[in-house]
Symmetry: C2
Subunit: 142 residues, 2 copies
DNA sequence: AAAGATTGAAGGTTCAATCTTA
DNA sequence: TAAGATTGAACCTTCAATCTTT
């Protein structure tokens, strides 16, 4: 049935779905932050840099890998460079910039990885009764 | 099996889950915005105001209803008041503020509701083959 | 002109500190 | 003191405009 607004039951299911997602994201974010001091975007950038580029990538390749637009990545890299997590250099043989992880950035992402893996597994991939995750939050949704 | 980082397959499932969520949220957000000019937080605030309070609520009741902290709501209400969507008054008989929807705010939320309902239904509650939603995005996740 | 990147402006979120009033 | 609310600062996201180099 289609009406001009959500029914109380539909609204309840929609809110439960959003809340379940937010709980998972917050859990993973807290795990990363407490293990390494990195934010979720920091971790996303450093992970690509280390795992795809071996520590270095062109900025446009990084953008493509993340699925981010130029502006978003430019601002994120600016903040991360100011914190010493990476460095940005002009590329001599053409247009563009080369992004390189620093020792500090490499160390931090290594610190974050186990906590990230555990949090994702327990919240989403393999929730347990002692650590309920996304799917449990949706039990009543049908 | 538990290792110190996500496997390629685990990472793929995790990314797919996040992407599916983001697609749904973006779809609902665009529907609200194009129908009414309201943002998602605008719509959340006005919906509570109209449906729970009949157009008026104490600020702390609004915060509880939304599950938002004081700071977040204070900043959101400031922006909305500046745009004429609501007004904020001191409460004479004690501490606190009274938030009231304006005619403009009431009109906007009414404009947004059908688009919101349609978007939520097609993206999450009852996706169709012509409008795939969240669950379809997760097909490969197992 | 096209590609790669940055910036101004606006909106959103969070934390800690602060202010006000009962 | 405690409750209700605001603010400074930092971070995040997006859009349109801009800048630079090929």
């Amino acid at each position: 049935m289609s009406t001009r607004r959500l029914s109380a039951d539909e609204a309840r299911r929609w809110e439960a779905w959003k809340r379940a997602h937010d709980v998972v994201q917050a859990s993973v974010g807290r795990a990363i932050e407490s293990a390494s001091g990195l934010s979720v975007p920091d971790f996303a950038v450093l992970t690509r840099l280390v795992e795809i580029g071996g520590g270095e990538l062109r900025q446009n390749e990084l953008a493509a890998s993340l699925g981010w637009d130029r502006s978003r990545l430019s601002r994120q890299l600016g903040r991360m460079a100011a914190r010493g997590l990476l460095v940005s250099r002009e590329v001599t043989d053409g247009v563009g910039r080369q992004i390189s992880v620093t020792d500090e950035g490499r160390s931090r992402v290594q610190q974050a990885r186990p906590a990230h893996a555990d949090a994702v597994r327990s919240a989403l991939l393999a929730p347990t009764s002692s650590a309920p995750g996304f799917w449990d939050g949706l039990e009543a949704i049908g």
